[in-house]
Amino acid sequence: MTNELAQVVFEVMPQFEGFVYPNEASPHPLWGVLIVLYPYITGLVAGAFIMASLVRVFDVKPLEPVYRLSLLTALAFLLCATLPLLFHLGHPERCFAIMMTPHFSSPMAMFGFVYAWYLMAVLLLELWFDYRQDFVEWSKTETGWRGIVYRAFTLGVTDESDAAVKLDLKAGRFLSIIGIPSAFLLHGYVGFIFGSIKANPWWGNVLMPIIFILSAIVSGIALCVFNYMVLTWVRRRTVEMRCLDTMGMFLFYALVFDAAVEALDWIHRVYLAEEGFQVMQYMAREKLFYTLSIGQALIGTLLPLLILGALQLWRKRVPELIRRRLYFGSAVMILIGVLAMRWNVVIGGQLFSKSLRGVMGYKLEFAGVEGWFMGLVLLALPFVILVVLVKLFLSERLPTSGHVPHRSSVPAKAG
């Protein structure tokens, strides 16, 4: 009997090194690739929103062409932000208990409210105020299902008087102003979900929410650069270089801040070398080498920092075509790097035992809810939604109202 059991144990148990608590010895970490995607997607939302508010609140004129695209990007990703969480639950059918009987000391419960607040009270309302006049106009000219959609979105408010339009503008700006702390709160809370776990020295860290917010801003701006360039390419338009250069500038400064705080986190950890430092050091060297040193540090931080920094210094000497490619490359690298960072936090935090005496292995599988195929689907879904949103609300056929801070969301034709 004992031998049989030992055999089973040997076969079932994945590769462990050292001692791990028996309950930790499962072949997969409890939180898999879905929970990696959850902070990633939420971060992209917060970042894209901050990007949009640069236009609304800080009146950064060169960014006007990407204002609406950024807001729609934020919406598309926000609609998918809770899906990975939902799919990973043991009882997804009970998910509304988080909202109905929330436990107020739980960061996860509070996230539900912050999410709802952000979606309903900030993003949807801001979009509505921004688009209302256009909806009214479009509902007059468009027929068929498009006409029905636009008419429905006016919510019956068809007043186009100057006073009403002025109120729209005012409300939009106000919402944008409260949207900035809300975006910080949204992603700060995601960081706090991990930062609040004192049982785990990899996670329990006061800098965690700040690192999450900063990396979210970086990834959100990178996503806006990516989307803007892809959209103009698909539509065979020319990229507005002034807009792109400004995005590149903000991306660079955000990345500098992010890299500085993340470096501070590491320096702090290494210098203090508290309990569990040895096992963390081992993880960084062995288990997370590719995602941490290569993915997060080299591809996600150092290379984009060098490229974007060089472009800040010698922008005028670099031809436009090269500049465009460098911006695009940096954006893609940052998007990969931030995904790697989420992986390092979520998976990395579960690759060592809380006994601090051993490490576990993790092999990502293809199929299943926690497989990488599912991850790809969930990552692709916001882009699919974004395509629909862009077709509906950034259509080239439809004229946009002149009152909004941007003149045109779609870059003008070349020449």
Binding site: M1, T2, L5, A6, V8, V9, V12, M13, G18, F19, V20, Y21, P22, N23, E24, A25, S26, L30, W31, L85, H88, L89, G90, H91, P92, R94, A97, I98, M99, M100, T101, P102, H103, S105, S106, P107, M108, A109, G112, L155, G156, V157, D159, A164, L167, I193, S196, I197, K198, A199, N200, W203, E275, G349, Q350, S353, K354, S355, L356, R357
Partner: protein, 270 residues
Amino acid sequence: MKPPLTRRRVLGKLGAALAGLMTLPVARTVKAAVQKLRVAPGAAKGYDPTQHRWVMAIDVNRCIGCGLCAEACKKENRVPEGPNYFRTWIERYIITQPKPGSAVARGEVLVDSPNGGMNGFPEPPVKRESIQHSFFVPKLCNLCAHSPCAQVCPVGATFDAPDGAVLVDPKYCIGCGFCIQACPYGCRFFNPYTRTADKCSLCYHRITRGLRPACVEVCPTEARLFGDLKNPVADEALQKFYAENRVQALKPHLGTEPRVVYAGLDKEVS
């Protein structure tokens, strides 16, 4: 005549609807809190949790690593089979002699818990002569006074009962796993059958009927002692344990204030 639909009115109505929705969670939270105080899963009828404060004391020097406690727990509580589902388990610590000339007081520390120690332990992986110390440490839910698992549960399915037990309501747990991550002691696991968090309940169905937890009941050496701080019995073993030993808790730096206390722990035990 119906008043015209103005933006002010639309916003007003939206606001009212939102406010209405916001009262729902408050009402349901109050209801759940009242329910929780009165009913706990598995408790006997008429049991009053406010009249008890359960604790467990473990004498590491007495544990022989027979594994009966882990086995009894699995049977009593229908804990899933398999090497990674345990409400209680036993760890073996082997500290070897230092190598000659190494100028350290102790050698290597080897820890294992094959199948949670449920079937006993195999021969030590090192020669007997090279062992400086060897001892067994039974582990279970630490009954934290400030339980991180209950703190992070988003729906309150895991909660601190007034009698000190930290319980999970499997009918309410959404299976997010947050509490499993938050437990510093690795005492929780994800039950693949109920798809909820699972952990030691102190055999709540037994203790609320005046019985002792299964692990305490079967321990042949009385390494595990169980008692009620609100109803102390003068000459019971638990009182003697407190009087005779200097006690320690696991990971005290985390501030969880466990009510499971140990005598004879070593610094290597984590």
